[in-house]
C-alpha cells in the first residue's frame, strides 16, 4: 500500500509590537467566573443537577507574556501560586503577577497548571496550599451536586500538568494599566464529551458511580465506572475507558484566556 505524507503548515500571525507610547503596568489575573464562585445552576445541566463548589484550588505558574510570538517576555514569572477560585472576587478575579512594561500591545501569554512542591499561596489558605503541595495536585475541586432532594458530595484531586501556550489576547499598555485574565472554566469538569464542539453538562453518570450509596462520589468509584459502552462520553483517539480517566482528561481543558480565548495545550502527567 502506498501512501505518503502529512505536511504540517504553520502560519505565523502578525504580532503587535511595542510603540512610542508611555510605559505602564501589565497585570495577569486569574478568575473562575460565576460558575466557580457562585455555582453552576441546574439550567446548565441536561439532567437537572446543580453544582456548588466549596473549594476550587488551582496551582498556576510559569506565567509569561510577550508582544508577538517571537517577542521577548516582559513578564516571565516562574513561581507557582495556589488560588481558591471559589472565594468571591466581586467579578474581578485575583492578581497573579505584574510588571512595568513599555507601551505596546501584548498578545501572547503562556502559563502552566501543574503540581508544584514549592507553590505558595495566591489567595488560598495555608492548609490548602500544604494539601496541594503534599498531594502533588494541580487542581482540587470539592463541593456538592444537588437535584431536588438528592445531593452528592465530591472532593477530587488532579495531578495532571497542562502547559497552555500561545494564548491570544490583546492587552494594550499606553501609560496606564492593562490586565490579562487567566480564566478557569469549572463547568468543563462536567462535560459529557471530550471531542464534541457542543458537549452537554451532566452529573447523572457521576451520581451513578456512588456504588456504596454514601452520597460521596470518590475517585475510586469514578475509576470503577466503565464508560466504553456509553453513547456519550466520547474520547476521540484517547485510550480512556473509565469515568475518572475521562474527568481527569477534561481538567486539562479548563484553562482559557480573557474569558473564552483559547490556548495551545500540551498535557504532561
Amino acid at each position: 500500500m502506498k501512501s505518503i505524507s502529512f505536511v504540517a503548515l504553520a502560519m505565523l500571525l502578525a504580532a503587535a509590537c511595542s510603540d512610542s507610547g508611555a510605559p505602564g503596568t501589565l497585570e495577569v489575573r486569574i478568575y473562575g467566573e460565576a460558575f466557580i464562585e457562585e455555582g453552576i445552576p441546574a439550567a446548565e445541566f441536561d439532567d437537572g443537577w446543580s453544582i456548588a463548589f466549596d473549594t476550587f484550588l488551582v496551582s498556576v505558574g510559569e506565567v509569561a507574556v510577550a508582544a508577538g510570538p517571537a517577542g521577548a517576555f516582559v513578564i516571565d514569572d516562574p513561581a507557582y501560586r495556589i488560588y481558591d477560585l471559589a472565594r468571591p472576587s466581586g467579578g474581578s478575579g485575583f492578581p497573579v503577577t505584574s510588571a512595568e512594561v513599555i507601551a505596546g500591545t501584548y498578545d501572547h501569554v503562556r502559563f502552566r497548571i501543574a503540581p508544584s512542591a514549592t507553590a505558595v499561596a495566591g489567595n488560598a489558605e495555608a492548609d490548602d496550599v500544604e494539601m496541594m503541595r503534599a498531594g502533588g495536585y494541580a487542581v482540587w475541586v470539592a463541593g456538592v451536586a444537588t437535584r431536588g432532594g438528592e445531593s452528592k458530595r465530591f472532593a477530587w484531586g488532579f495531578a495532571t500538568a497542562t502547559a497552555y501556550a500561545a494564548c491570544y489576547t490583546r492587552a494594550r499598555v499606553d501609560g496606564d494599566h492593562a490586565a490579562i485574565e487567566i480564566t478557569i472554566h469549572g463547568d468543563h469538569i462536567f462535560y459529557d464529551d471530550l471531542v464534541s464542539s457542543e458537549p452537554a453538562l451532566s452529573f447523572d453518570p457521576m451520581a451513578a458511580a456512588d456504588r456504596d450509596g454514601d452520597d460521596l462520589v470518590t475517585v475510586e468509584e469514578l475509576a470503577g465506572l466503565d464508560i466504553s459502552a456509553e453513547e456519550r462520553y466520547q474520547v476521540g483517539s484517547l485510550d480512556i475507558d473509565d469515568l475518572w480517566g475521562f474527568i481527569d482528561q477534561q481538567v486539562s481543558t479548563v484553562g482559557h484566556i480573557d474569558g473564552e480565548g483559547h490556548c495551545d495545550t500540551t498535557l504532561r502527567e
Binding site: 501512501s3 505536511v7 476521540g236
Partner: protein, 160 residues
C-alpha cells in the same frame, strides 16, 4: 496529504496518494474521519455508504465461529490524533510508506474488539450472523476502540 480517501484495509497495497515530506524525525500522524458518500463512487447498496466504518468478519472462540458485520458512525470531522509514525525522513528518501490498522494494540495488547461479547449479540434475521449497528452497546464500544490512536501506524514499506 490532502484529499479524502476510502480505505479498504484488506486490500494490501492500494495507493492512497502521494506527497512530499519535510526531512526530519517523525513521531506521529493525524487524520480525520468522515462518512462515506457520493464522492467515493460507491454503489447505492454499499454497506459503508453513509457510515464511517464497515467491518465484516468472523469471531471465533472455543471452536465456534460467528460471522459478524458492523457499521460504525463517527461524527464528521472527528480527528484521529497520534497514529504511530516513528520514521526518519532524510533529504534523499524516496519510496512508499504504508498506513496500517493494528487490531492488536502493540503497547498494551488489547484489541479493537475488547469488550464486544459476540456470543450475546442477537442474530440478524434468519441467518447465523450478528449485525453491530448504531444504538447497541457493542456499537458504542467498537466505535470507541476504532478511534484509539494506538491502533494505527505509518511505517516505511519494505519488500518482504
Amino acid at each position: 496529504m490532502t484529499g479524502d480517501v476510502l480505505i479498504d484495509w484488506t486490500d494490501d497495497g492500494a495507493p492512497l496518494g502521494t506527497a512530499r515530506l519535510l526531512s526530519g524525525d517523525y513521531q506521529s500522524a493525524n487524520f480525520t474521519l468522515r462518512r462515506a458518500g457520493d464522492s467515493d463512487g460507491l454503489a447505492a447498496d454499499d454497506p459503508v455508504r453513509g457510515h464511517t466504518f464497515h467491518i465484516e468478519g468472523v469471531a471465533s472462540q472455543a471452536g465456534q465461529s460467528l460471522p459478524f458485520q458492523a457499521v460504525l458512525d463517527i461524527d464528521e470531522g472527528t480527528r484521529m490524533i497520534g497514529a504511530l509514525f516513528p520514521v526518519r525522513i532524510t533529504d534523499d528518501a524516496t519510496g512508499p510508506l504504508v498506513m496500517q490498522v493494528l487490531t492488536v494494540d502493540p503497547f498494551e495488547g488489547d484489541t479493537m474488539f475488547d469488550g464486544v461479547d459476540f456470543a450475546r449479540l442477537p442474530l440478524s434475521g434468519g441467518g447465523p450472523r450478528v449485525d453491530i449497528v448504531p444504538g447497541q452497546d457493542a456499537h458504542n464500544i467498537l466505535r470507541r476502540r476504532v478511534q484509539v490512536h494506538d491502533h494505527y501506524a505509518i511505517a516505511v514499506f519494505t519488500i518482504p
